[in-house]
């Protein structure tokens, strides 16, 4: 199939007007030896055949009835209205709203997104989005270096391991020095040349960090050191104290939890917020409220573009151009659909259900909860027989929790369990049963 509207007659007419004989003549400016005759690709498919092909591919993936896996990508309920709204052609087939007068709808939506993210996080300003949580964190590190003029950052252990890798890649490009430290060694590693401390809370292992204590211990000695927090599941902000209520300088998050499908890890949403005073160093697009030049009507427009690559080129604050606009629209609709009450309730359920699973697991001999700090919806568990647990989960059609040794080879027999509002009592009971049987070295279907 193709999406070409012209028939042959139309094509000849157009060639005629251009003043050439054939379609080949359109390419006469390309050196002859560069022209190719054939690509080694299959013949095209009609829509029904294409669907068959795709369904066949998709059938090689497995969707489980319930999930105990998180680790940076979460299954929360996605209200039906989100897909209806983001499927409006006027939104999803539009370009970046450069012509403001023909893009008021999207511009206003982004303005509302900036507002709601600012309210959720308590931070002064939010941009229109970054690619994802990991790249938002990396850009935050670079921004901190630009603000302070210092060339070193410190990462607190407990940041998502893939995020750490991304930060490293970005820092290497810029020649920024980085160091990953344990909490008890933190003050040994920070010094007057440190641009920023980066930490995650709730962290990769589920711990909710004592942000205020952390900030105080650093800023009391190194007041110029910026503090950057990252979060992978911002539904937690339904009940947790927002970063803006502390002295956090830059707060970033992965927004996939907010109404976006897992989709094998992307597209997600990079949430990026900061204190007002850093506005002009911030990467990414911003929408501002303004008025007509000759009228009184209020309107919205891309603003402070002098920070951006299409104006400033190599002097820009970042190279980012395309962002995750449609995903930010999803997050906006998500937060509005749930509202204040819903967000609080969802966050509570995450905490309560996770607490229930913790208590149940702890009661089974051989299981040990490893978190020493309070947790939100994820926690670390040492297992007596991790292989059996994973197999039993799959047998019961439950997506098993993460084996932490995937990232930390020294953390054997440990799983990172994620419980959300989507885990029903029935699924949780089955999971506990799977764990109990694994402790007795029993495998489902084999006993």
């Amino acid at each position: 199939m193709d999406f070409i509207p012209h028939d042959d007659k139309t094509i000849s007419k157009m060639l005629n007007i251009i003043g050439i004989q054939s379609l080949d003549d359109l390419f006469q400016d390309i050196p002859k030896d560069l022209l190719i005759n054939k690509l080694n690709l299959a013949e095209g498919l009609s829509e029904p055949d294409l669907i068959k092909h795709l369904e066949n591919l998709a059938s090689k993936n497995r969707v489980f009835s319930n999930s105990f896996l998180g680790a940076g990508c979460y299954y929360h309920y996605i209200p039906s209205i989100i897909d209806f709204i983001i499927s409006r052609s006027e939104f999803y087939t539009s370009y970046t709203p450069y012509q403001a007068e023909a893009s008021q709808g999207y511009l206003q939506a982004i303005y509302e997104y900036q507002t709601i993210i600012s309210r959720l996080t308590g931070m002064d300003i939010a941009n229109a989005s970054m690619y994802d949580g990991s790249t938002a964190l990396a850009e935050a590190a670079i921004m901190a270096s630009m603000i302070t003029g210092k060339r070193a950052i410190v990462l607190l252990e407990g940041i998502h391991p893939e995020y750490i890798e991304v930060v490293k890649t970005y820092c290497k490009g810029q020649g920024i020095h980085y160091n990953i430290v344990k909490e008890d060694k933190l003050l040994d590693e920070i010094n007057h040349d440190t641009a920023a401390l980066l930490f995650q809370s709730p962290n990769f292992f589920g711990d909710i960090e004592d942000s205020e204590g952390l900030i105080k211990s650093v800023k009391s000695i190194y007041p110029e050191c910026l503090i950057v927090q990252v979060m992978t599941d911002p539904t937690s902000l339904g009940i947790l104290k927002p970063p803006g209520s502390t002295d956090i300088d830059i707060f970033v998050a992965e927004g996939q939890s907010l109404g976006i499908n897992p989709s094998f890890g992307g597209p997600g949403l990079g949430i990026f917020t900061a204190k007002q005073k850093y506005l002009r160093k911030m990467p990414g697009r911003l929408v501002g409220k303004t008025k007509e030049i000759k009228g009184e009507k209020q309107g919205f427009i891309l603003t402070l573009q002098a920070r951006e690559q299409h104006i400033r080129r190599e002097k820009a604050s970042s190279n980012i151009c395309t962002n995750q606009a449609l995903c930010s629209l999803s997050a906006l609709i998500y937060l509005l659909s749930l509202g204040k009450n819903g967000l609080q309730e969802i966050a509570k359920q995450n905490v309560q259900k996770a607490h229930y699973v913790k208590t149940q697991l702890q009661a089974i001999p051989g299981y040990e909860i490893l978190n020493k700090k309070p947790t939100y919806n994820e926690f670390l568990v040492k297992c007596p027989n991790i292989e059996a647990l994973i197999d039993n989960c799959k047998y019961k059609d439950l997506l098993p929790p993460l084996q932490v040794s995937k990232y930390y080879s020294n953390m054997e027999n440990i799983v990172l369990i994620c419980i959300t509002e989507m885990n029903s009592k029935k699924a949780i009971t089955e999971f506990i049963e799977a764990a109990r049987m694994a402790a007795n070295d029993k495998k489902e279907g084999k006993c």
């Binding site: 539009s94 012509q99 947790l240 989709s263 094998f264 890890g265 992307g266 603003t303 690559q309 229930y356």
Partner: protein
């Protein structure tokens, strides 16, 4: 159409009734939160409105009515390739066995196979030997490619700190080069809109130059006739050649970046491969490289084995990870669906029709508007406001175009043309649509001569009149 002209923010539509529609029943014994979490971790207030579902729907349907997309009409933005986004791709990306898959789960051979297949197809289209699908956008792909160049020279124990970027390049090129730690040498295009070979050679010989970033056809829509000589000069002087694939559309299945002599390319799946722009994203910016550079690609990569597809640990020569997980998979599914549907013949037709449409418009507009580089173009061409009567500017024309119910071209880019209007119709516009665009442009030309005031004060028919950009930037209001 009927439309409420009142601008109300969603925050004004909340009420006191708590929303409960999306909260599953709590079917476990509840323990009070303050028994689980210490009080000092909990938030005191949350200033998010409770808005009834119907109000949310009406609000955003209302906003969508104040927006324009490819499905509304022609979207002639140069260098943006705003082609039709096939609806079947949306169905594909929403198949639960794609959209509900966790990036860290087992039993995801379907996802792996799709990623693997698309890498191979993009390799065939560009001639490149290896691909990563991880970068989330074009600029992200550029950064990836430049970090590969940097790593390549590091492993050769060579210090190369500069990148050549022609003045016609996209703004992301120099910005990405800076992010990868390079400084920029800007090269002025010659009178044909091409890279001047002698100056290129001079710059390369200065030493310390890692290579060149080029887009071909370039932002003037010009295919550089000396492209092979250019890449040859760069290679002869020890540099690498980077291909910005933003403009690949017109040469699909016609010629290939690798054959032109490029070592690294990035593609924009949200341009050439029909995935929707989404109002600015999400996109996807795969990066392809020649054989010798595969070892530097970001991790992870997927390989095919007897036992199926597996994720391979990369070498310590890899530039590292560029994004969490596997890239913008949902976007990648749409692009895969597109290339599989089109096949070889369909792709060639895309290239041919994109060039046919652009030249058709060029020829019909060249008599009235200034066309600084008037020659056979590829996907786009650039008009200028120079010489128009009554001090009419490109900005004025762009705003007036909106009055006719269609979107305006890219304006004031490329920077090498004063008052540029960059027009790229793409292959999916019908002759009727192109003729209407010409009719509008010619009508505006008449207005420029006869009633310039109507143009200077445009737009008149849009939801708001021309907005105050200067005031917005002087005193930014970024939230309620």
């Amino acid at each position: 159409m009927l439309m409420d002209l009142n601008v109300t923010l969603i925050f004004e539509k909340g009420n006191e009734r708590p929303q409960k529609n999306f909260i599953p029943k709590m079917d476990l014994d509840k323990v009070e939160i303050n028994k689980i979490l210490p009080e000092n971790l909990l938030r005191k207030e949350l200033n998010i409105p409770d808005v009834p579902e119907v109000e949310i729907i009406r609000h955003y349907i209302g906003l969508s009515n104040r927006n324009y997309g490819v499905d509304s009409g022609i979207y002639p933005l140069g260098s943006c390739t705003m082609k039709y986004n096939p609806k079947v791709n949306e169905i594909a990306a929403r198949m639960p066995k794609f959209s509900k898959i966790h990036p860290l789960q087992d039993e995801c051979q379907g996802s792996f196979e799709l990623l693997y297949n698309l890498s191979k197809i993009l390799g065939e289209i560009t001639g490149m030997d290896g691909f990563t699908l991880q970068p989330a956008a074009g600029a992200h792909g550029e950064l990836t490619g430049l970090l590969i160049i940097k790593k390549f020279f590091e492993t050769q124990k060579m210090e190369k700190s500069k990148i050549i970027v022609p003045d016609s390049a996209h703004g992301t090129n120099p910005a990405s080069a800076k992010m990868a730690g390079f400084s920029i040498i800007e090269l002025q295009s010659n009178e044909k809109g091409e890279v001047p070979l002698d100056q290129l050679e001079f710059a390369m010989k200065e030493g310390d130059v890692a290579g060149i970033m080029l887009t071909n056809p370039n932002t003037l829509g010009v295919f550089d006739s000396q492209i092979k000589e250019i890449t040859h000069v760069v290679h002869e002087n020890g540099g690498l050649c980077y291909y910005d694939g933003a403009n690949l559309n017109p040469i699909l299945a016609i010629c290939r970046p690798k054959d032109m002599g490029f070592d690294i390319v990035h593609l924009n799946l949200h341009k050439t491969f029909s995935t929707p722009h989404g109002g600015g994203g999400p996109g996807s910016g795969p990066v392809g490289v020649t054989k010798d550079l595969i070892q530097f690609l970001p991790e992870p990569c997927i390989i095919s084995t007897e036992n199926g597809f597996i994720c391979q640990k990369s070498t310590d020569r890899s530039i590292g990870r560029i994004k969490a997980f596997w890239g913008n998979f949902g976007v990648i599914v749409r692009a895969y669906s597109y290339v599989i549907a089109l096949g070889e013949e369909g792709l060639r037709r895309v290239g041919q029709m994109a060039v046919l449409n652009a030249n058709y418009l060029r020829v019909l507009l060249q008599d009235k508007y200034n066309l600084p580089y008037n020659r056979l173009c590829k996907h786009e061409f650039v008009l200028s406001d120079q010489g128009l009567p009554n001090n009419i500017t490109t900005e004025d024309i762009a705003k007036r175009i909106l009055d006719f119910g269609i979107y305006a071209p890219t304006v004031y880019f490329p920077l090498i043309i004063n008052g540029a209007m960059m027009i790229e119709p793409t292959e999916t516009e019908s002759k009727t649509s192109l003729d209407r665009f010409v009719e509008i442009m010619l009508k505006i030309y008449d207005e420029i001569k006869e009633c310039p005031e109507i143009i200077k004060s445009a737009p008149h028919n849009t939801f708001v009149g021309r907005l105050d950009a200067v005031g917005a930037a002087r005193k930014p209001i970024l939230k309620e």
